[in-house]
């Protein structure tokens, strides 16, 4: 079934690429969405089983797969709006759709694959797709961003590959040549701990490009700056989750070795640095998309720190990732609307949004505040749990520092939000396209979902989530 799915994805993509008719592209996107849904349901039915010997439908993968399916619906929806708005020629449109399909498929692969090498291959595939997508607008900036993305990402991937080779070497000394995660975690205990450290170090640095975590966080920011907003939404959420899943699989496998302490320290400090950099840049951000990107950096930093706290905090980490995916994607979808309305992303040249379009402005304000983790945002719950876990794990000073940094971040959010939404316009600010209700309603649904999952989570959901972390 999974094989069918991948084949279908390839076929459909190829079809679009060959036919190059807008109608065909849209139709096959719909078809693919159906396939995505089916595979999701199928995965739920066959929970915990292996498939094609290298794939496995486990809880962690599945929860993100469901988020991915949801997000792909949204992304396709907003992509239609986007493509309809800037009348591209059918060629570019079809490339866009084909690559989007490939991207979704390969992210699915990342979530479900249970073999280090296979996972790496899928991550590589995502790089290819993303670079094509952010190149979509084909101006100097997008070219630069694409170049940087390709270059740094390939180095990142190479480093991750080095990590995997080390892994191979490490398990080889025990005479094992299988790199599926189960066998890795079986071997990890006996393998040379220094090897393990090297492995984790390189894996972390390598996949930090995908997660947008320090040290290779920079290119993701640039990519998000130029990417079409639906793609941006996808990159900053689903792809980030993919990076997290990749990292988490290795972390989980290696934690059998007695280097957990070391890995946690590493994660703690990368996360801390990420949040710090995010705070700094958000204080001085001048561009809405970059603001969103840096907030992504902040959240992924929080996630890394939560991961390092380990134990019950993992629940909070997964919750955090899910809620963040919902809010952040909503923000990027809405940024498309904002751009359509003001023809700019510059924070200083957007004024009195509320006066011009009250409803949209309120949604925008809510998105920013929710992202900052102000109740009634569900993100507050996950952050609360993460901090509580940190305190109990004894990282008191780290938590205090983190709280201070978060305060700065909320300050940045508030200031920018007020500047855009409520500030008096000194010079006349032109507005262009009308804002349609149908691009706001889905975002409202997302916001409601965030509150719902945060404060009134259905019992099944919490249970499933708590099964992810064991």
């Amino acid at each position: 079934m999974l094989g069918l799915y991948f084949i279908l994805a390839l076929v459909v993509a190829a079809l679009i690429f060959l036919v190059r008719k807008r109608f065909v592209a849209y139709a096959s996107l719909i078809v693919f969405l159906a396939a995505q849904t089916l595979i999701n349901i199928y995965a739920f039915i066959h929970l915990g089983e292996r498939e094609l010997e290298y794939f496995r439908f486990d809880h962690a993968g599945l929860i993100f797969l469901s988020i991915l399916t949801l997000l792909s619906y949204y992304t396709v929806y907003y992509s239609f709006i986007y493509l309809k708005r800037n009348q591209d020629n059918p060629f570019r449109t079809s490339i866009y759709c084909a690559v989007l399909i490939m991207l979704i498929a390969s992210v699915t692969g990342v979530y479900l694959s249970e073999h280090a090498g296979l996972l790496w291959v899928f991550v590589e595939a995502t790089t290819l797709c993303v670079s094509l997508l952010i190149y979509h607008e084909r101006n100097a900036l997008s070219l630069e961003a694409t170049w940087k993305y390709v270059f740094i990402c390939s180095i990142g991937i190479a480093l991750a590959f080095v990590g995997i080779i080390f892994l191979g070497m490490a398990v080889q000394t025990n005479g094992v040549y299988d790199l599926s995660f189960s066998s890795i975690s079986a071997q990890a205990a006996t393998a040379n701990p220094f090897w393990m450290k090297m492995v984790f170090l390189f894996i972390l640095v390598g996949f930090s490009t995908k997660m947008g975590l320090f040290p290779l966080q920079t290119i993701k920011v640039d990519a998000l700056t130029v990417a079409p907003s639906p793609v941006g939404a996808f990159i900053s959420t689903a792809l980030m989750n993919a990076g997290f899943v990749a990292l988490y699989r290795f972390y989980h496998a290696l934690s059998a070795a007695d280097i957990v302490e070391w890995m946690n320290n590493l994660l703690m400090w990368t996360g801390m640095l990420s949040v710090m950099i995010a705070a700094v840049y958000m204080m001085f951000a001048g561009n809405l998309k970059r603001l969103g990107a840096y907030s992504g950096l902040e959240h992924v930093g929080l996630v890394a720190i939560g991961l390092s706290a380990g134990g019950p905090v993992l629940y909070a980490v997964f919750l955090h990732l899910i809620l963040h995916s919902l809010v952040k994607s909503g923000l990027f979808y809405h940024l498309g609307t904002v751009f359509h309305h003001f023809r700019t992303y510059k924070i200083n040249s957007i004024k009195d949004y509320f006066g011009k379009a009250p409803g949209a402005a309120l949604i925008f304000l809510m998105l920013l505040l929710f992202l900052g983790g102000i109740p009634p945002s569900g993100i507050f719950v996950s952050e609360f749990l993460i901090f509580k876990g940190l305190f109990n794990a004894g990282h008191i000073w780290e938590m205090a520092l983190l709280l201070v940094l978060l305060t700065f971040i909320i300050f940045a959010f508030t200031r920018n939000a007020l500047n855009i939404v409520f500030s008096e316009e000194k010079a006349r600010v032109e507005t262009y396209g009308k804002i349609k209700y149908y691009e706001l309603l889905p975002i409202i649904l997302l916001l409601i979902a965030v509150v719902w999952l945060g404060y009134f989570p259905p019992h099944a959901f919490s249970v499933f989530l708590s099964q992810c972390i064991m």
Partner: protein, 209 residues
């Protein structure tokens, strides 16, 4: 025999560190390809002939012919200045690269490897670091490409050390090689060449805060 090849390989690293003409770079890359070919031939003589041919093709055709040719093509097409324009003086580069070799040797000490794997690892890891170092200290995109190639060679060499038992990893390395080159080729051929005349990354730094 193999040890000699490895030694030569590390010499190429040092030489690249102090090369001041781009052409020298390219020749060195080609040479590394050839060396890799030799090493592969010596190491992986017992794996399946299919894989072997794959690897040999990769090393000979791809690494030591296609890439260098392509790079020099770019050079001529875009009339790039021949100097490598490093940020760091050659003297220091030499010292630092030597430092890399020593560092990787020390690291290999911690890994409990047998003797010749140790040599492999040292050279491979050193060339990995050197590649990154070259990228960091040189200005031009084309030099970045070359640095990346060196890094790739390092990774490839690394994969060879366990390729005997896990050929799949080697293939993945090759896959990576091809994939990246395809991407970059694409970019170069249809855009960067005629979008940016002088291909120094100074005009590739507009995206910043």
């Amino acid at each position: 025999m193999e040890t000699i090849l490895l030694t030569v390989f590390s010499f190429t690293l040092l030489f690249i560190g102090i090369a001041n003409r781009l052409n020298t770079f390219i020749r060195m890359l080609a040479l590394q390809g050839v060396l890799l070919f030799g090493i592969t031939f010596l190491k992986l003589n017992e794996i399946s002939w299919f894989n072997l041919t794959m690897i040999l093709l990769e090393t000979i055709i791809f690494k030591s012919i296609a890439i260098p040719w392509f790079l020099s093509y770019i050079l001529h097409k875009n009339k790039i200045v021949r100097e490598t324009e490093p940020f760091v003086s050659y003297f220091w580069s030499l010292i630092i690269i030597t430092g890399f070799i020593i560092l990787s040797y020390i690291i290999s000490g911690y890994l409990g490897l047998d003797k010749n794997t140790k040599a492999d690892f040292t050279v491979a890891f050193a060339s990995l670091l050197t590649g990154i170092y070259i990228i960091i200290t040189r200005k031009k995109i084309i030099t970045h490409m070359m640095g990346y190639m060196i890094l790739e060679n390092g990774v490839f060499l690394l994969s060879l050390t366990i390729g005997a038992h896990q050929p799949m990893l080697v293939n993945m390395g090759i896959l990576l090689d091809i994939f990246v080159s395809v991407l970059v080729l694409g970019l170069f051929l249809n855009r960067i060449g005629n979008t940016f005349e002088e291909m120094s990354i100074d005009n590739l730094s507009n995206l910043k805060d």
